[in-house]
């Protein structure tokens, strides 16, 4: 199983160059059954990452480009009257895929956004009074442009909370950028990517991740981190228990990727910024040099070995 995971990571890294941590976090998010929000400037490889993930994990995939005139029915589907059968026939929307890429989610109107987000939360949709179960596994990867870009509707805090992680790819290093520039004439052909994992295997992995052991010491650490965010010292939104759950799930997936059957505080630290930053400080502002600052400060303030000392 572990070899499988490392080959998945390896393949994605060939496409998304020089972003090993982000790739690992994205995979951890999927293993933890979480939805992923990728937030960055245009042209940083958000869509490439999502696309590569879908191909590598062998999931049915559809991309929805969000625009300001996109309607909820464009996302979830609509019933149309069929004159031949004299009945309503459901035309399923792109959401009935295992992996949905909601590109530039914050360009759509809040109504459309919430239709998608509702589906994410419930794993099912209702169209004209009937409820339809979404496929298993089901993921949403949403990308978002920074808020200061024109034509954006910011996602409210309650909806940001639906995403397990928020990642920001950031600029590549000089080496990586050279590599990108030399081999990226024309788009990558995603069909050439090898599918490593079947959906059944993915569900199996998700189950295994759930069973990773979390000791009292690590639990104490998580609680201490949550408490720390609630002290009012950091000028942020305090972390909710749901954030704590997401934190533990993501850390478990991380531990799984690392090949361990138990959690370490290191796992918590590894995913903490990705899981908590958008809950602490929803406004994503590239112009601030210290975007990840609040979560980093919370980590710095809590003793990782004996959390009760702080």
């Amino acid at each position: 199983m572990n070899e499988l995971v490392s080959s998945v990571i390896h393949q994605i890294e060939q496409v998304v160059i020089g972003k090993k941590t982000q790739v690992k976090l994205a995979i951890a998010c999927i293993f933890a059954k979480g939805h992923l929000l990728i937030e960055d400037l245009p042209g940083m490889g958000k869509t490439t990452l999502a696309h590569t993930l879908a191909s590598t994990l062998n999931l049915s995939y559809q991309r929805v480009q969000f625009t300001s005139d996109l309607l909820p029915s464009d996302v979830i589907g609509v019933s149309i009257f069929d004159t031949q059968t004299q009945s309503f026939k459901l035309h399923k929307g792109p959401i009935f895929n295992q992996l949905v890429l909601a590109d530039e989610i914050n360009r759509a109107s809040p109504k459309t956004q919430s239709a998608l987000l509702e589906a994410m939360e419930e794993s099912r949709v209702s169209i004209d009074g009937s409820t339809y179960q979404l496929p298993e596994p089901f993921f949403v990867i949403a990308t978002q442009n920074p808020l200061f870009h024109s034509g954006t509707y910011s996602l409210p805090e309650s909806q940001l909370d639906r995403f397990m992680m928020r990642l920001s790819l950031g600029f590549p290093s000089i080496e990586a950028e050279k590599k990108i520039l030399t081999n990226a004439f024309g788009a990558i052909d995603f069909r050439t990517l090898k599918a490593f994992i079947t959906p059944e295997q993915l569900i199996e992995i998700q189950k295994q991740v759930q069973h990773i052991y979390i000791s009292d010491a690590v639990l104490d650490y998580v609680v201490a981190l949550l408490q720390q965010s609630r002290g009012g010292e950091y000028d942020v939104n305090p972390l909710s228990p749901r954030a704590g759950k997401a934190l533990i799930s993501a850390a478990k997936a991380w531990a799984f990727i690392e090949g361990r059957d138990h959690l370490l505080p290191d796992d918590i630290q590894a995913v903490f910024v990705a899981v908590c930053q958008h809950r602490l400080n929803p406004v994503f502002d590239m112009s601030l040099s210290n975007i990840n600052d609040a979560s980093q400060r919370i980590i710095n303030a809590v003793d990782a070995i004996s959390p009760s000392l702080t």
Binding site: A217, P265, N300, D303, I305
Partner: protein
């Protein structure tokens, strides 16, 4: 603490540079620290302060880049040249202050490492407190405290780069408040040893009396609102008419100026000063009412002190006091700080002492070159009145009845001619009257001398003390009359009695407001303003009395009192402290128990290891996990690699993995074993 280490470590990795808000604070504190010294700095340095603040803000806003070596060199050399040129006029202390400020201004241009930054901050604090050499009032001290907060904010911002200014200020104030008890203990208890070197005096020309007076000198003082000294009476204060603060006795006159001792009288220049006043010679001293009071004198950069007639006893804890033969007081050393002293006086306006022939001839000497008319007038009066007292009264009634008047702006006298004043202009200030009267008395053969001092004082109800300002400076005469001794005569009182009765301050203020009926003077006299002023002055008085004037002797007294207090309530305090110790012990025991119950044995083992590790220089940051800690340890001490890795693995197993209780037991003994091994190894290393 952990944060500091981590940030410091981070700093060493990357090129060291200051954070944006630290840079900003650096500029602000630079400007503020220099601002408080601005009164003492010469114009070229003030100009340079402005230039360098502008310069640094240009660098801050990236308008220009850091200057290169050549520019820095040129600026520092030109500054040093300017300093050398102005050093002579500035005096030693001021030129040193200039040098300090100048280097403080240049240092920000070469902050390359953390060390430089610390130097800059420390230098700033030193510059800031240097301003206390010049001004010591309470309000200024509060201002300094405020600026001190920004200085500490600057220091703190280097460690907590992301905090806002508000949180920084909050944290600094919190720390300052916490340090208050320690500061108090140090203030009360730390020996206030006098400096081993003589502090160069800050000011040479100070507003105040001087020991040679020519007509017109005091008139200059009359407009000065500067405080001279403050007096607190132990009993009821004496009448206003008796509050003649004798300061200097001038016995020599050269035709235009009065001197304490004329330069050419070397033969008896030194000796009388050394001589103690002989109180036993004064007859009738024991029958006089006595009054005791404490005087707190502002630094005058002179030696003389103030007392009421007849000063019988005086002592100070700060200085040795000399009781001079002419019944004035002086200090052993120049007063360059606030000095307080205790005086007991027998209130009288006449001192019945015998007059030695030497002193008699000195007090009869008249200048031969000047004021011949006055000499003739003296002789004429002598012929008219055989009795000394009658003669004195005759002159006083002439002052009173003829067209003499009292003014701050008398007509100019040619060559300080007293006769011109006496016969023609008839308008003058207290010295005109005192000196012409004294001169006239001498001409008539009555021993007479000029006395300089202060008259009256302003009563502060809130603080129950009198403030005497430079504008209260006064001059009067003393004549020696057979059978009565030295008799105080205030000719000014004869001219305008109400002035002496009400005090100078008030009458002068009236005259001033007549001269210039501006807004400020009406403001000055308004009731609420004077109330406020009295209150503020009362606070300042207490501050000066207890904090600025706190000397080593006060210190000894306080400690003695504390000791006595302890001695008195020995048994009570002993029980109290025993009880306290008992409570503290219980508290500590409970805490340890609590800690032990909270942490498993595994955690305690790690805790012990960490305290061992600090001894070999490996400190755990708060956010470090066990693996990160191990990595740091190995990086610092590669020889421990195997032992550390084995210990950490054991620890991780126990702490983070799911184990059965049997496995746990086994692992724990194993871990203990590993810990002992590690301990041995580390101990060996140390």
């Amino acid at each position: 603490m952990d944060d500091t280490i981590e940030i410091a470590a981070k700093k060493q990795q990357v090129q060291w540079s200051l954070a944006k808000n630290t840079q900003f604070l650096l500029m602000i504190t630079l400007a503020l620290n220099c601002l408080l010294l601005i009164l003492e700095l010469s114009s070229w340095l003030i100009a340079f302060i402005v230039i360098s603040v502008l310069w640094q803000s240009c660098i801050y806003f990236k308008v220009i880049s850091q200057p290169n070596k050549l520019i820095k060199m040129l600026v520092s050399i030109s500054g040093l040249i300017l300093l050398a040129l102005s050093a002579k006029g500035l005096g030693l202390l001021n030129s040193m202050v200039h040098l300090l400020v100048f280097s403080y201004l240049l240092k920000p241009l070469e902050i390359h490492a953390q060390k430089d930054f610390y130097i800059q901050v420390l230098l700033g604090i030193f510059v800031l407190v240097t301003s206390l050499v010049f001004i010591q009032s309470l309000y200024f001290m509060l201002l300094i405290l405020l600026v001190l907060v920004t200085n500490f904010m600057l220091l703190m911002s280097a460690f907590k780069q992301t905090e806002s200014y508000k949180t920084l200020a909050k944290q600094v104030s919190k720390t300052l408040v916490k340090s208050l008890p320690l500061a108090l203990i140090l203030f009360i208890g730390f020996p206030k040893i006098a400096p081993f070197w003589q502090m160069p005096s800050a000011k040479n020309a100070e507003v105040g009396l001087s020991d040679e007076v020519k007509v017109g000198d005091i008139a200059n003082l009359a407009l000065s609102n500067k405080l001279a000294f403050r007096v607190e009476f132990e009993q009821a204060p004496p009448n206003y008419q008796q509050m003649y603060w004798r300061t200097l006795v001038l016995e020599d006159f050269d035709g235009s100026k009065w001197y304490q001792q004329k330069k050419n009288h070397r033969s008896w220049q030194r000796q009388p000063k050394r001589e103690e006043a002989e109180l036993s010679l004064i007859s009738g001293l024991s029958t006089l009412p006595t009054v005791s009071y404490q005087i707190i004198a502002e630094p005058s950069y002179q030696k003389w002190l103030f007392a009421l007639n007849v000063m019988t006893d005086a002592s100070s804890e700060q200085q040795k006091l000399n009781k001079n033969v002419n019944l004035t007081l002086s200090a052993e050393k120049i007063l360059n700080s606030v000095t307080s002293y205790q005086v007991t006086s027998a209130l009288t306006n006449q001192v019945n002492t015998p007059l030695s022939s030497e002193v008699r001839s000195r007090n009869l000497a008249v200048s031969v070159t000047n004021n011949q008319q006055l000499v003739a007038e003296g002789k004429r009066l002598r012929e008219l009145y055989s009795d000394d007292l009658n003669l004195v009264n005759a002159v006083l009634s002439r002052f009173n009845q003829q067209n003499y008047h009292y003014t701050l702006n008398p007509p100019l006298l040619s060559n300080n001619n007293l006769a011109e004043f006496y016969f023609d202009t008839k308008a003058g200030f207290c010295e005109h009257y005192a000196s012409s009267f004294t001169y006239l008395m001498r001409s008539a053969g009555i021993p007479a001398r000029m006395v300089l001092g202060y008259m009256g004082g302003e009563y502060n109800e809130r603080g129950n003390y009198f403030s005497i300002y430079q504008r209260d400076a006064h001059a009067w005469s003393e004549v020696w009359i057979k059978g009565l001794g030295w008799q105080r005569i205030d000719p000014t009182a004869a001219v305008s009695p109400e002035r002496v009765e009400r005090g100078f301050s008030q009458s002068l203020q009236q005259e001033q407001s007549l001269l210039s009926s501006d807004f400020l003077s009406s403001f000055n006299t308004s009731l609420w303003f004077s109330q406020l002023r009295y209150m503020l002055e009362a606070i300042d008085y207490q501050w000066t009395k207890w904090v600025v004037g706190y000397s080593i002797n006060d210190q000894i007294n306080v400690i003695k009192h504390i000791y006595l207090f302890f001695a008195e309530y020995k048994s009570f305090l002993a029980t109290l402290s025993l009880l306290l110790i008992f409570l503290v012990v219980i508290f500590i025991v409970l805490r340890i128990k609590h800690k032990k119950s909270q942490h498993s044995q595994t955690a305690l083992l790690l805790y012990q290891l960490m305290s061992l590790a600090t001894k070999v220089g490996v400190v755990k940051n708060r956010s470090m996990t066990i693996d990160q800690f191990a990595l740091k340890f190995i990086e610092k001490k590669p020889t421990f690699k195997l032992a550390i890795v084995r210990f950490v693995d054991g620890y991780k197993k126990l702490q983070y993995q799911a184990l059965s209780s049997e496995e746990k037991k086994k692992e724990l003994t194993n871990l203990k074993h590993l810990y002992q091994q590690l301990r041995q190894q580390i101990k060996h290393e140390i």
